[in-house]
């Protein structure tokens, strides 16, 4: 007779948006894992059709309140690549700076407020504040700095208004950026401390042989753009060939399309960027990664919190470098004229590669739009991690197994708004 059991969590918290998960077990073995995504479909790709190409950055920003800059950048890059315009120099440096602000804000939110409570045995940053108020105050100050960078460069922190195809509506002055420096210097020190802190957490055991994918652009750690995509299997292809390698699947249990890379599940985000580009990290980020004993390829997804902290260091140091070399450009933007054809753009959202493709007519009207967010690319991998984790830890008490499964999902900082609605986790022992 087979043993049957059901463990159920109605809502998975501390993720951006809401979704669902079912783990079915029979006699201690995992039978099936499904990441269910109920996010009410919003049909962005459909209502972009017929709109002017210059509207895409402001429209697609609304897909995600946590990473609007990622959407704005990918949309701009797609339109500019089609028009044959390259945004370089200080106009581009400002984009990277704005994006550093988003990384600082988003990574801080995830490290301290969404993920750290799992390792410290509390439900929220509010509960954490009751135990260690200075830590939460540090987190809030770091988060505020990320928002300050976004506000100074982009006009506001959620859905910045200063980004346009071709550049900016108004470039900040040197003095406005200089005013950010003292707080960024504090943040660099604080993020180094944070890296050492999270590296000392206890990590559940899990080793996965991941297929990683990230953008690549010359010698930079990829943030705001990339000319190519690289994988840990050694593939290298232009962003425009995205759909020659990535296939999206529509499954019944998810309102987000699931992606595979050359037929295999794959991972995008901090673990992938770090594995493929750690040599390109800023000096302090590279050094602290070594100090805390991070190996060149991190295979335990629970340690993604450490990699995220290393990227936080990188974003602070990179922002300081960009400000140091800043000179206000004479014009805030380049002219981008519409041209008929297909444009591709991609950027590294805090959670991983975000790809946009637009087909325009000669008046610049969008005929067709495709958007592939990082969380839909990671869905299969999240399911794989759960399968492996539950398989190896089936003897854990139900309550702990359930907590660890939720934590395993939070390893990915899943942006379910980019993809989902209710995450309700069920472990069924059949």
């Amino acid at each position: 007779m087979s043993r049957t059991k059901t463990i159920r969590t109605d809502y998975l918290a501390r993720v951006e948006g809401e979704g669902g998960m079912t783990v079915k077990m029979r006699d201690g073995a995992v039978e099936d894992v499904q990441l269910r995504i109920y996010e009410p479909p919003r049909f962005f790709e459909a209502f972009l059709q017929g709109r002017d190409f210059r509207e895409a950055p402001d429209v697609t920003a609304r897909i995600c309140g946590i990473c609007p800059v990622a959407y704005q950048m990918a949309a701009c890059l797609a339109m500019e690549s089609l028009a044959g315009v390259e945004v370089e120099g200080q106009l581009r440096a400002l984009r990277r700076l704005l994006y550093c602000g988003e990384w600082i804000e988003s990574h801080t939110l995830h490290i301290f407020m969404l993920h750290a409570p799992d390792f410290l045995g509390v439900h929220s940053a509010v509960e954490l504040a009751a135990i260690d108020r200075p830590l939460v105050e540090t987190a809030l100050r770091l988060k505020k700095l990320g928002n300050d960078v976004m506000r100074v460069v982009g006009g506001r922190e959620v859905h910045p208004i200063n980004v346009r195809v071709g550049g900016w509506y108004k470039a900040p002055t040197r003095a406005e950026l200089d005013a950010l420096v003292p707080e960024l210097e504090w943040a660099l020190a604080a993020s180094l401390d944070a890296t050492r802190l999270v590296a000392g957490f206890d990590f559940p055991e899990l080793e996965q042989d991941y297929l990683f994918m990230a953008l690549a652009d010359d010698d930079e750690y990829p943030i705001d753009r990339g000319s190519h995509l690289v994988t840990s299997h050694g593939a290298l292809f232009p962003v425009a060939d995205f759909y020659e390698h990535v296939t999206e699947h529509h499954v019944a249990h998810s309102n987000a399309l699931q992606a595979t890379l050359d037929g295999e599940p794959y991972l995008v985000g901090p673990l992938a960027r770090y594995a493929l580009h750690h040599e390109r990290l800023s000096p302090a980020a590279h050094a602290v990664a070594g100090d805390v004993g991070l190996e060149p390829v991190v295979k335990n997804p629970f340690r993604s919190i450490v990699v995220r902290a290393v990227e936080l260091v990188h974003a602070c140091e990179e922002a300081l470098r960009l400000i140091e070399h800043y000179e206000q450009p004479p014009e805030p933007s380049l002219e981008v004229l519409p041209r008929a054809g297909t444009g591709h753009g991609a950027s590294e959202a805090p959670r991983g590669v975000l790809y946009h493709r637009y087909r325009l007519d000669d008046a610049g009207t969008i005929l067709d739009a495709k958007i592939v967010p990082p969380t839909s690319q990671n869905q299969r991998m999240i399911e794989d991690d759960l399968r492996a984790f539950v398989g190896a830890h089936a003897s854990l008490p139900d309550e702990e197994l359930q907590w660890r499964c939720e934590q395993a999902i939070r390893n990915y900082d899943p942006c379910i708004s980019c993809a989902t609605h209710f995450l309700d986790l069920q472990v069924q022992r059949l």
Partner: protein
């Protein structure tokens, strides 16, 4: 003796999460807020789930699925005061661009297997489904206004949120009118204030992300010669 702290809940419907993030973005005030109120339900921030009744419930997002059209009624019943926050909750949001168009065409434009998708033909405001005590506009909302609304409701006074147009904020800030002085299309005259005339401050026209102001005269704005030149771009 234990002192009863007011209980605050935050619920999400169809949205981007940006407005509830605005609450967490009140970095300097957040710990004071959590000292003053019990955050009873806020999934994005806490895995502790407290049942109603709630003293104040903030609702983000629009109603766009059959399931959500039912869920909002239970939340209303559990809430003494219900505030819809952000343009999705107050107007149906950007996803209301599907209203009046073919849902089937939209579904098949995005999804390979449309039979898996359950969605209403329209995306509508929370107030179209249940009584709402206060609406806070914005895409995203202004976090200072959010703090004022929560504080005011807990203190039992009227929130200090204005109902005039962006133009009023723009004039007060001394920004030259982008419509008149640069000939840039601007929705400021018909859009609710609250952003601080942000886009005109950055030399661009308002694109209406705070939604229409009370009694907005859209027809009059459309007929002004300066705007009619941009009609094809701005109003379609």
């Amino acid at each position: 003796m234990s002192v009863h702290k007011p209980r605050l809940a935050v619920y999400k419907f169809s949205s981007c999460d940006g407005c509830q993030l605005s609450l967490l973005d009140c970095e300097e005030e957040l710990l004071d807020v959590t000292d003053a109120v019990e955050i009873a339900y806020f999934l994005e921030a806490s895995s502790a789930v407290g049942k109603g009744p709630y003293d104040v419930t903030l609702v983000e997002g629009s109603i766009s699925t059959p399931h959500d059209a039912e869920r909002i009624h239970a939340i209303r019943r559990a809430s003494k005061v219900l505030v819809s926050i952000g343009s999705c909750a107050t107007t149906g949001g950007i996803q209301a661009l599907r209203n009046g168009r073919s849902l089937d065409a939209f579904v098949s434009a995005v999804y390979a297997s449309p039979e898996h998708i359950s969605a209403l033909r329209t995306s509508t405001a929370i107030a179209d489904h249940v009584p709402v005590d206060f609406e806070l506009n914005g895409c995203p909302i202004n976090k200072t206004q959010l703090l004022d609304v929560v504080g005011s409701l807990l203190a039992g006074r009227r929130p200090n949120v204005q109902s005039y147009a962006v133009c009023v904020e723009c004039k007060r800030a001394g920004i030259p009118c982008v419509l008149v002085s640069h000939g840039t299309a601007c929705l400021g005259p018909v859009t609710a204030a609250g952003c601080g005339a942000l886009c005109p401050l950055y030399a661009r026209g308002c694109f209406g992300c705070f939604g229409p102001k009370e009694q907005a005269n859209v027809a009059a704005l459309e007929q002004t010669p300066l705007m009619s030149a941009f009609r094809e771009v701005s109003f379609r």
